[in-house]
Structure formats: structure tokens, C-alpha cells
Amino acid sequence: MKGSTKKKIEGYLFIFPWIIGLSVFVIYPAGYGLVLGFFKFDIFNPPKWVGLRHFMELFTEDPNFLKSLSVTLRYIIFSVGLRVGAAFFLALLLNQRVKALGLWRTLFYTPSIVAGYALALLWNRMMDPQYGLVNVVLRFFGGPTPNWFGSEPLAFATITVMSVWSVGPLVVIFLAGLQGIPQELYEQAEIDGAKMRHRLIAVTIPMISPVLLFNLVIGCIHATQLFVEPLVMTNGGPNNATLTLLLYLYRNAFSYLKMGYAAAIAMIMFLLTLGMTLFLFRWSRRWVYYAGSG
């Protein structure tokens, strides 16, 4: 039919700009990124094949890389754990049929509006040993007033803990998931005599588990890309305690012009993300419950 042929062409006409953008700005760079790590490249001279040498160097001769890998892994575990835990707890609280729910939700979301550089700058100044909010409060209560960016564990802890303040989107997603749980399930559980704790384990957690998985996956991908906070607050220090993979990649690519070496780091980040996602999906088979699919 003439009309349907026209329709077929039309569909492609409508998505054509996207296909161009996809090819030029996504697929080509992603493909290039997957091979560039095997080349030595400084922008000015043509790329030179070096095989696996960058990867050998990263893992055997580059303590900064190993440190940044360990920092990033620890950040993923602690910050995702803290953020998902805090968001779930807040969503549970907000789901207790509180009055003025919209207002509470807005208030808990508000800190997440300060993002990126402004957030990093705010926390940098808030942790100032003399005039920062945290030490002013600690001093008032007679507590210790440490130099938060002066020691490795404190600097790392600061950057990890501050990520809990931008937990707004996670709360919103959890809350929407909780509100979607059919009320009958709770009523049934109550008739069966289930205590609150049991209702949480037997009804809430299974019903919310797909949302939990989603938040974990997105949270891990997001945490792998940590950049502006350490750049602004500590510049990776002290003693590389907050040197993340992306910050180290940035330095190699744009400060030392070691594009191939930096691309090898990007590939490690890619494999890390892929590995985490696959692990979470596989692991989730044991605890995610999809209502309706048995």
C-alpha cells in the first residue's frame, strides 16, 4: 500500500536526527573509547599501538591508579549504602500517612537542588576548621574540631557522608513505589496478625524490591563518576585519599595529555560499571519480587 510505505519512511524521517546524534556523539565515541586504551596517544602525534602495556602499567607500576580504584570502590560501597538506606528510611517515614506530605517531600528534596560545583563549594566552606558550620557546632558542644581535609579518613568520610544530603530523587522514587503497594496486602497481613516489623519484611520489602534494585544500579553508576566534589573540596588529597577514577582520568588526559593511558582508565571504569550492573541484576534474582510474574 502506498500510504503504508510513506508511513515507514516517515518514521525514519522523524528519528533521523537522533540516529545521526547516536552515531556521531554516542556509538562512535563509545567504540573509539573501547580501543583507544591500547594506543599511546598525546593528540599531537599519531596513535601508536602498545597492546596491553597501559593495563599492565596501571595495575603493576601505578600506585596512584590503584589508590584511585580503591577510593572509588570504597566510595561506591559506602555512599550507595548510606544513600539508599537513608532514602528508604525517609520514604518509609513519609509513607506513614503524615499530614502535609507534599510539604515534607519538598523540604527533603530542597538540599538536592544545590548541585555540582555549588554543592562542593558549600561543603568545602562548611567543613572549614575555624568558621565552618560543622566545627562551629562541635566547638559549641565542647567537641573536637578537626581539620576535616587534613587526614585521609576524615577527608574520605566527609565526601562520602555529604552525598547523603542529595538523596532527594531517591526518596521521591522510593515514596512513589511505596504508595503503589496495594493497601489490601497490609490489611490482609494485619488480619493475619503480622506485627509492623513483619509487615515490613513480608509486604513492603518484597513489593519495593524492583525499585530498590533500580536505585542501587543507578546509584552505583552515578557513584562511579564522582568528580566535582573531590576536585573542588580536596583536589584529590590529602595523599590521594579522595582521588577518584574520573579525577585521575581527567589528570592523565588533560593535564599530562596521556590520552591513551586515560582511555585505559576509562575502560576499567566501563568494565567496573558493567560488572557491578551484571552482579546487581544476577544477585537481585534472589531477592527481587516482580508482582504479577510470580
Partner: protein, 288 residues
């Protein structure tokens, strides 16, 4: 129903409600404290006053704001940021809505495959693309121009935005466009005259979320812009107040005034359009 319950349960439930509200109150205070401190410090007459616990400035010093505005100075970088945000936002709204429309309504061979590709691109870690994209823009001689920050958004507008538009357009009853089609309307006219007016809630959602992304973007301006005249406002603040340039403690109050100024547009938009905003997060989150 309540009458039938044992008294004990009712008491515990009242206690429980008090506990819930107390917890919420404590947590919301902790959550908002950094923001309150930011605003309060920005209004204090000098950095020394930050030494006191009081969040109330001894004298509310509005002049910190014009001081910061002139010292940074804000106008140039602000104009640059507005320019980039407006064009990137426009490009991604137009492009993502057209693409989303095609995925929601038009039937063409391979649509499901392309849609699967779209979903997969959301999962590509951006790190793998940073260097090749830089090299591509370098080859195009686009470095130190706004093109890398704007042009790509006209070609698709971002997978999440396409997805959001597709979901929304799918929820619009199809009878409307079928009737228009019988009347001989072209596909583009159906999109422009029937779908576009009906999808305004989705446009608002994408615009609000997109504004935050473009306005706050640090990484792309940071690697693509070198010339100080081209600074976005966030990049300018970074250049003058990052630790590399020396940590100026005596400027604490002006630094915080700058921080308030740079986040103010996002706050205004959030409070005006928070319903759309939250809905957008839920759509891309839950249904994603």
C-alpha cells in the same frame, strides 16, 4: 473500625505518630541546615561572625550580594550560561519530543530494535566517551566554543528525555490523531497541532529537569572552554574560588552570596514547578 480495636493499639499508634513527626522534624532540620547556613553566612557583615553559632546575622548585610555580583563579575558569565542553557534546552526539547513521538506513534520497520538501542544507550557509562568526544570536538575545531555544549542536543536531545516524551505521548488517546489522519492531516501536522498542545505537561517536566542539568553542568564547560570570556557562571566561580587559587577565608560571606546567586534560578524553578519536577523523576525512575 477504630472502635473495635483494643485500647492498647490506639495508644501505641498515637505514640507512634508523635515519634514519626519528631523524627521528621529532626531530620528535616539536619537536611536543611547546610542551606540555612549558606543563606545566613551570605548575609553576615563579615566572615568573623561565622565563628558564632547564631544563624541570625548581627546586621543583615544585603550589600554582600552586589559586592559579589561586581567582584566575580556575574553579568558576562551569567549571559553565557543563559545563552547555552536556552539553546541546549530548546534543542533537546524539540529533538527529544519529535523522536519520542516517532517511538510512541509511528509504525516503521525496526522500531523495537531502535528503541532497545535507545534504552541501552542510557546504560553506557559516560566515562568511556569523554576522551573520544573531546578528540572529536577537537578535530572539528569546536574546542573553546559553545558548540560541544549545544549542538549535540539538537540530535536526539538525550535518551532519558526521549523516553519521557514517548511514555507521555503513549498515554494520549490515539483516537485524536486517527481522526485527524482520516481528515487527511500529514503526520507532521498531527504532531505539531494535536500532540504538541497535549504534551505540554511533559514539555514542562523535561524543561524543568533539563534546566537544572544544563545550568549546573560543570564537567563539559570545564573541559571544553578555555577562554575566560566564555566562562559559564559555575566555571567562573570555580576559577576564582577553587583551592588552587588560594583559599580565601576572609571572603566566606561573599563566597556564600555567590553560591546563593548561582543556585537561585534553580530554586525558583523548583518551587514554581515542583509538581512537574517530582513527576519527571518518578516517570524516568519507576517506569525506566
Amino acid at each position: 473500625m477504630v472502635r473495635g480495636r483494643p485500647v492498647g493499639l490506639r495508644v501505641r499508634s498515637a505514640v507512634w505518630r508523635v515519634v514519626v513527626y519528631l523524627l521528621l522534624l529532626v531530620l528535616v532540620t539536619v537536611a536543611l541546615l547546610p542551606l540555612l547556613w549558606m543563606v545566613s553566612t551570605s548575609l553576615k557583615p563579615g566572615f568573623l561572625e561565622a565563628y558564632s553559632l547564631s544563624l541570625l546575622p548581627s546586621k543583615v548585610t544585603w550589600s554582600n550580594y552586589p559586592d559579589t555580583w561586581n567582584r566575580v563579575p556575574f553579568p558576562g558569565p551569567m549571559a553565557n550560561t543563559i545563552f547555552i542553557t536556552a539553546l541546549a534546552l530548546f534543542g533537546s526539547l524539540v529533538s527529544a519530543s519529535i523522536t519520542g513521538y516517532a517511538f510512541a506513534r509511528l509504525r516503521f520497520p525496526g522500531r523495537e530494535v531502535w528503541f532497545a538501542i535507545l534504552i541501552m544507550t542510557m546504560l553506557i557509562p559516560p566515562a568511556i566517551m569523554i576522551i573520544p568526544q573531546y578528540l572529536l570536538f577537537n578535530w572539528l575545531r569546536w574546542i573553546d566554543s559553545y558548540k560541544p555544549l549545544i549542538v549535540p542536543w539538537f540530535f536526539g536531545g538525550g535518551a532519558f528525555r526521549i523516553f519521557l516524551f514517548r511514555q507521555f505521548i503513549k498515554s494520549i488517546p490515539e483516537e485524536l490523531d486517527q481522526a485527524a489522519e482520516i481528515d487527511g492531516c500529514s503526520t507532521f501536522r498531527i504532531f505539531a497541532q494535536i500532540i504538541v498542545p497535549l504534551m505540554m505537561p511533559a514539555v514542562a517536566t523535561v524543561a524543568v529537569l533539563g534546566f537544572m542539568d544544563f545550568w549546573n553542568d560543570f564537567f563539559a564547560p570545564f573541559i571544553y572552554l578555555n577562554n575566560v570570556d566564555k566562562d559559564t557562571i559555575v566555571l567562573r566561580l570555580f576559577r576564582i574560588w577553587s583551592d588552587a587559587e588560594g583559599y580565601m577565608r576572609e571572603e566566606l560571606h561573599t563566597v556564600m552570596a555567590g553560591n546563593v546567586l548561582v543556585t537561585l534560578p534553580a530554586f525558583i524553578i523548583f518551587f514554581i514547578a515542583q509538581k512537574r519536577f517530582i513527576q519527571g523523576i518518578v516517570t524516568t525512575g519507576i517506569k525506566g
